[in-house]
Amino acid sequence: MIDIVVHPNIYYFASIVLFLIGFYILLTHPNLIKKVIGLNVMDSAIFFFFVAVGFVSDGGSPIVEAGSEALTVNPVPSGLMLTGIVVSVSVTAFALAIIIKVYQHYGTINVEEIYVVRSEREC
């Protein structure tokens, strides 16, 4: 494979960029489903960060064959990220379930419109 000389911190940099874009989506979009997507982008950026922490250039997969002592990447962060992905998916599923309920009660999933509906009711 072709190698080019870039600083290896590109992984961390990229994960932080993705995190910030996800946070941007979460903050600026009033649509709740878009917010969920933003949340997921944030989470996967963090998982990417963890995988990058464990990544060793030229390391093999952490699958141990009997008797081999090849250089492998650190398996601990990726093991942790399995749990992380699970947690993120369950949060997503739960959020979507509640979003459907919000739609049933307010008729919209736009946060600004929900605030309008709520303030109308209180007046």
């Binding site: 494979m1 190698d3 997507i37 933003g38 995988v51 990220m81 992905i85 998916v89």
Partner: protein, 80 residues
Amino acid sequence: MINLFHFVLILTLIVVVISVAKIKDLLSAVILFAVYNLIMSLLWQQMRAPDVAITEAALGAGVTTVLLVAAISKTGRLEK
């Protein structure tokens, strides 16, 4: 030293994410998000974390997309 393939994948990821942020049609955004997750899982496979990659492909790209599509079909497709 960094593999060129990784670099290309990372750039694609950022481009896809920005288009997810910009697109108005929620269904397209969800599909782009699935693409994002698939590229991410490819990248992780390249970064020698195959178990995370397989889980991300099954959950991030599969289940999350199905759930999001289900939610969109119940709420509404266009972002207002």
